[in-house]
């Protein structure tokens, strides 16, 4: 009974979705599809927006500065902390799993 109902209703859903799409004028709806949420193109806009940014950024030297190493060091240390925590958590859970199975 439920299966039959689902079979009747699913095409209806598809139809409704198309109607919703048709309700939107073509030039705007075509621009971004459902993949908007797919995040693989999430950076598409972030990159191209800097039109308005100040141009003095361009004069920066391409070679890595000292700050870059410092920032990287900080990020690596934070990651080391997280990794240590995760590793201990993993081992504790594994230990508990073993204990429970013995009982």
């Amino acid at each position: 009974m439920t299966l039959i109902k689902t079979r009747v209703i699913l095409p209806f859903i598809v139809l409704l979705l198309f109607t919703a799409g048709a309700g939107i004028p073509a030039d705007t709806a075509g621009g971004q599809s459902i993949t908007m949420l797919a995040a693989t193109d999430l950076h598409a806009q972030e990159i191209q927006k800097p039109d308005q940014t100040v141009s003095h950024d361009q004069e920066k030297k391409p070679e890595p500065s000292k700050t870059l190493y410092q920032v990287m060091g900080v990020v690596l240390i934070i990651w080391a902390g997280i990794a240590f925590f995760l590793f201990r958590l993993d081992r504790r859970v594994a230990k508990l799993e073993n204990q429970v199975k013995i009982k």
Binding site: P25, T28, S33, Q45, Q58, P64, L68, M72, F87
Partner: protein, 227 residues
């Protein structure tokens, strides 16, 4: 069965590699300079938050379809994935708004991407409110899963809607004519490594959470048997 947990342990290697690549190997972008390196953290975070959302939805659907309970704890797995997704979404928003501050001068301007991430954030918040309100009910899994599915199926409407709404609120065109991304091969491969390592990190934490959930259930059963 043992292969997957071992493979997941590769995060300990992958994440530092991704960090070092992002800072040292990838060249700075033309206009943004070194600030563009947020890309290698922001994009993977956003990808993981959406992946967690989809995984939670799939677990919920499986939970509702699986009437004979052949799999255990599907609702709790959906809950765990959503909890992780919430954390990653908040991180995405923070990283994104720092980047927005650097490149556009404001922390927040309701760009279509920001809007979609806020909608996902709202859905998570509503999901956790309903889960919290039903803490002691046995219908918790059913209602939570039904809500997550209902929220998921409305997302395509946002995909139709968000680009349509924006011209009315933003007089200046945000979506430019050329939607190409200028990434060279080094940037592309760094981004790929970062995405893979963050996905692995998500899977690893989800795996640990699910094991803890299973342990908790098991211990409760032992406790009840002893009574």
């Amino acid at each position: 069965m043992k292969v997957i947990p071992t493979a997941l342990k590769s995060v300990y290697l992958l994440v530092p590699v991704a960090i070092i690549m992002a800072f040292l190997w990838a060249p700075p972008a033309q206009v943004l300079g070194d600030a563009s390196r947020i890309l290698y953290f922001h994009v993977p975070l956003a990808w993981v938050s959406i992946l967690a959302f989809i995984v939670a939805g799939i677990f919920s659907i499986a939970y509702l379809v699986d009437k004979k309970h052949t799999f255990t704890g599907l609702d709790e797995k959906a809950y765990n994935s959503a909890a992780l997704g919430l954390a990653f979404t908040i991180l995405t928003v923070i990283a994104g708004s720092i980047w927005a501050k650097i490149s556009w001068g404001v922390f927040w301007n309701w760009d279509p991407r920001e809007t979609s991430i806020v909608i996902i954030l709202l859905i998570y918040i509503a999901y956790f409110s309903i889960q919290g309100a039903m803490a002691s009910s046995e219908n918790r899994g059913m209602v939570g899963s039904a809500y997550l599915i209902l929220a998921m199926v409305t997302l395509p409407f946002f995909a139709f809607l968000v680009p349509r709404i924006y011209p009315s609120l933003h007089p200046d065109p945000i979506i430019n004519a050329d939607r190409k991304i200028f990434l060279d091969d080094q940037m592309r491969s760094t981004l790929a490594v970062a995405i893979v390592s963050f996905t692995m990190l998500y899977c690893y934490i989800l795996h640990i959470m699910n094991r803890m959930m299973k342990l908790k259930k098991h211990i409760e059963e032992i406790y009840h048997d002893a009574d």
